[in-house]
C-alpha cells in the first residue's frame, strides 16, 4: 500500500502544480527545483500563484511577463534548464557569482529581448552557444570566471557588428581562438591574452 500511496501522492502533487500555474511561473519553478538553494532565497517562489510577478528577485512588466531575474550572489548551485529560453520578454538574466554548473543552454538564444546576460563567476562549462548570436538586443554579455571552453562563436562576435553588444567579458575561462572585432562600433571586450585578436 505504501508505494501506491506515494505514487498517488506524486500524481496529486503533479496535478496541483500543473493545474494552477502559468507558463513562466512553471518554467521558473522548474528552475528552482533544478537548483540547490541553501540560503532559501527562492522561498517565495510559489507555483500556485497566478504568475511569478510577486516572487522575490523577479520583475515583471505591465503585462505580467518576467523581464528581470536578479539572483546574483544567491548561493545557488545546479544547472540552467533549457526552458529558460521560453521567458520570451526577459531582458536581464542576472545569475552572477553563484555555483551554477553545467553548460549554457543553447535555448537561451531564443531570449530575443535580452539586454544583459550575466553568468560571470560561476562554474559553467562547455561551449558558448552560437545561438546567443541571435540576441540582437544583447548589450552586456559577461561570462568571465567560468570553465567555458571552445572558441567564441563567430555569430556571437558578430553582435558587435550587427547587434547592440557594447560589453563582452569572456576572460578567465578555457576559451581559445581568434577574436575578430569590428572597428565600426564602440565596444569593450575583455578576454584572456591567449585569445589572439
Amino acid at each position: 500500500m505504501k508505494i501506491q500511496h506515494i505514487a498517488f501522492l506524486l500524481l496529486g502533487l503533479a496535478s496541483a502544480t500543473v493545474v494552477k500555474c502559468n507558463v513562466e511561473g512553471d518554467i521558473l519553478y522548474s528552475q528552482k527545483k533544478a537548483w540547490k538553494d541553501p540560503n532559501n532565497v527562492l522561498q517565495s517562489w510559489d507555483p500556485t500563484l497566478v504568475n511569478p510577478c510577486t516572487w522575490f528577485h523577479i520583475t515583471c512588466n505591465n503585462e505580467n511577463s518576467v523581464i528581470r531575474v536578479d539572483l546574483g550572489n544567491a548561493g545557488l548551485s545546479g544547472g540552467l534548464i533549457p526552458e529558460l529560453g521560453r521567458l520570451t520578454q526577459l531582458q536581464y538574466l542576472e545569475l552572477y557569482a553563484n555555483n551554477i554548473s553545467g553548460s549554457i543552454p543553447a535555448q537561451l538564444g531564443k531570449l530575443t529581448k535580452l539586454v544583459s546576460l550575466d553568468l560571470y563567476h560561476n562554474q559553467l562549462s562547455g561551449p558558448i552557444p552560437s545561438s546567443l548570436g541571435n540576441i540582437k538586443s544583447l548589450k552586456y554579455l559577461r561570462l568571465n570566471g567560468n570553465g567555458l571552453s571552445g572558441i567564441i562563436p563567430k555569430k556571437v562576435l558578430d553582435l558587435v557588428l550587427t547587434g547592440n553588444l557594447t560589453e563582452m567579458n569572456v576572460s578567465d575561462n578555457e576559451l581559445f581562438g581568434t577574436i575578430r572585432t569590428s572597428k565600426k562600433r564602440v565596444t569593450t571586450i575583455t578576454q584572456d591574452a591567449k585569445i589572439s585578436s
Partner: protein
Amino acid sequence: MESFFSQKSLPGLLLLLLVFSVYPKPASTSLASQGRVLLQWKASLRSQQSLRSWNPSTSPCNWSGITCSLRRHRVITVVNLPSMGLDGPLHTINFSGLPSLTGLNLMFNRLGGEIPPSIFTLSELISFDVQGNDITGTIPARISSLTKLRSLNLSGNKISGSIPLSLGNMTSLDFLILSGNGFSGSIPEEIGDLQNLQELDLSANFLTGSIPQSLGNLTQLSLLDLSLNHLYGSAPPSLANLQNLLVLSISNNTLTASIPASLGNLTRLIKLNLWGNHLSGPIPHEVGNLVQMTNLVLAHNSLLGSIPLSLRNLSKLSTLYLFNNHISGTIPAELGNLVEMRDIDLSHNLLTGFIPSTLGNLARLRNLILSYNELSVPIPSSLANMTSLILLDLSNNQISGCIPPSFANRSLEELSVINNSLSGSVPNLTSLVSLKLAYNDLSGHLPPDVCRGGKLQHFTAAYNKFHGPIPESLRNCSSLVRVRLDRNNLTGDLFDHFGVYPNMRYIDLSYNRLSGMLSPKWGSCSNLTSLRISNNRLNGTIPSEIGQSTRLGALDLSSNHLVGELPKNLYNLISLIELNLSSNQLSGELPSEIGKLLKLKRLDVSGNNFSGVIPREIGGCKQLISVDMSTNSFSGSIPYEFGQLVDLQELLDLSQNSFSGHIPSQLGQLTLLQILNLSHNNLAGRIPPSLINMASLSALDVSHNELEGPVPDGQLFRRAPMEWFTGNRGLCDVVAGLPSCSSSPPRGASNVIFLSGMAVLGALLLFFRFVGFAAQLMKRRKQIANGTSQTGGAAFSIRNFDGGDAYDEIIKATENFDDKYCIGKGGCGSKETTAFSFTELHCQQEK
C-alpha cells in the same frame, strides 16, 4: 488506489491459510527445533520488543504471529508479523529449518539484506509477503522452485536487477506484486504464461521496452498496474482480451500512438489511468462502453478532438481527469447526467463555448476545474445548485458576464475566476478559504462577509474596478495568508480595517485611494514578507513597530503623504530586499544603521525631504543593484563608499540634492552601472578620469553642477550628448559642443592617453609646420626670384594637411599606449598567472 484490490485479497488469502492449515505431509522437523530457528532469528534482531511472547518456556504455537498445524504432530505453518517494528536482517532466519511453512508475512518492518537462498527450500510456501522493508539484491531465478506459491509481494523494497524469466514457470501465482523497487530491463514475455494471475503490479520501477503482447493471455487478471516506469510503444491491442480487468493503470510512462479503441471491450473496467504518457489522437468513442467505470484518467497526454458524447453512458463515473491535453470543442451537456460525479478536471485544453447549465445537476460534485481553456459564455447560475461543490476554478478563460448572485452564502470554499472578462458585482460569499477574482472588470463593493466563516486564507481581487471600503470582516480575519487588493478604487481609512494576522505573508493594497495612518499592528504580523501600500493617500508617520516584522523582504510605501522621520527600528528589517519610500514628505537623516540592510537590492527614497549627509555605511549594502536618492536635500560630499557597491547595475541617482565636493573617483569601479545621475547638485572640481572605466554606462548626467576642466577621454564621453554636461562652471574638450580646454592640458596621473595623444599630435604639428615653413620659405624664395607673390593659402594648406588620417594614426597609437598603461597599472584586471587579461578599446570617430 489500485492497490485496494491487492490489499483486500492478500489478507483474505492469509486467512484461508490460517483456517485450513491442515498440513498434508509429515513434518521432517519437530516443533521444538522450529521454535529454536525462530529464537535464533529473534536474537539477531536489533529491535524485538514486539516478540516478548517468543519464549523457550512456552510452545511456539502460543507465540505472537505464529500459527501451527492442527495435527497431532504440530508444526509451524504460518509466520505472520506485519508492522511489528522488527529491525534487522532477513537472512538470519534459517528457512530450511521451517519446511512446513505455508505463509510468511513480514510486511512493513525494517528487515534488510538479501532474500536468503534457504527460502527456496520452502516447497509448501503459498504466500510470501515482505512488502515495505529494506530488502536489497535481486530475485534469484531459483524463485521458481516455490511451485506452490500463489502470492508473491515484494513491493516497496530496494530490490533491483531484472525480473527473472523463470517467474513464468510459477503458474500457481495469483498475485505478483513487485511495485516500488528498482527493477530494470523489460517485462519478460514469460509473465504471459501465468494463466492464473489475478493481480500484476509492476509499478514504480525502472522497466523499459514495450508492453509484451503476451499479457493479453492473462485472462483472469483483475488488476494490471504498470505505471511509473519507462515503458514505450503503443498499448498492445491484446489488452482487449483481459475481460476480467477491473483496474488498468499505465500512467507515467512514455506510451505513444492513440488509445486502442478495443479497450472498449473491457466492459468490467472500473478504473482506467493512462495519465502522463505521450498518447495522441482522439479519446475513442468506445470508452463509452465501459459502463462500470468510476475513474477515467487520461490527463497529461496529447489527446485531440472533442470529449466523446458516449461518456454520457458512464453513469457510475465519479472522477474525470482530462486536463493537459489538446481537447477542443464544447463540454457536452450530457455530462450533467452523470450524477455520481465528484471530481472533474478539464483544465489546460482548448475547450470553447459555454459551461453547460446541466452541470448544476451534479449534486455530489466537489471539484470542478475548467481553468486554462477558451470558454467564453457567462457562468450559468445553475452551477450554484451543486450543493457539494467545494472548489470551482474557472480561471484563465474568456468568460464574460457576472458571477451569478445565486452563489451567495453557498458552501463553496475555493473560487477562482482569475483572468477572465467578468464584470458586475460579486455575490456575498461567506465560507471561503480562497477567493481569487484578480484580472477581471469586476466592480461594486468587495463581498463584505468574505471572512465571516473565519477560514479565508487567500483573497485576491487585484486589477479590477472595485470601489468602496475594505470588507469589514477582514479586520479580525486572522486566517489570512495572502491578500492582493491592489489596483482598484478602494477607499476608506486603512487604520481601522486591518488587524493582526499571524499567518499573513503577503499583502498588496497599492494603487487605491485608501487614506489614514499606517497601523502599528503591521509590526505584529510576524510572518509578513511583503507589505505594499504604494500610491494611496496614507498620512502620518511610519510607526516604529513596523521594525518588528523582521521577515519583511519588500516594503513599498511610495507615493503617499507620509511625513516625519524614519523610525530607527526600520533598520531592524534585515531581510529587506526592496525598500521603496519614494514620493512622500519624509524627512530627517539616513542613519548609519542603513548599513545593516545587507540583503537590500533596491533602495528608493527619492522625492522626499531627507537631508544631511549620506552615511558612509551605505557601502556595506553590497547587494544593491539600484539606488535612487534623487530629489531630496542631502548635502555634504558623496561618500566614496558608493564605489564599493560593485553590483550596482540599474541606477545610481543622486540628482536634485545639495551634494558638494568632488565626484568620488571610486565611482569608476561601478563597471556594471548603466545609469549614473549626479545632476543638479553643487559638485565641483573635475570629472574623475576613472569614470571611463564604467564600461556599462549608457547614460550619465552631471549637468547643473560646478564642475570644470576637461571631460575624460573615454569612449562613452566621445559620443556623449552635450546635455549631460551643461550648466557647469567650465567643462571642456572631448564632447562635441563643449569648448576646447584652452589652457595647459590637465596633469592628472591617469591621463596618459590624453598626454600621449597630445604629445604625438604636437610633435606631428611641429613637424608639419616645420616642413611647411621650410617649403614655404623655399617657395617664397622662388616667388621672389620669379617676381610673383601669393598671400595666405599655403600656410592653411599645411595646417589642413590630411588631418583626418593624422587623427586616426593618433588613435591607433593611443590604443597601444592604453594597453601598456593598463598592464603597467595592474588595476584593469591583470592576473598573477601568465593569462593576464587586458582591456582593449576599439574606437573610431563616428561621423
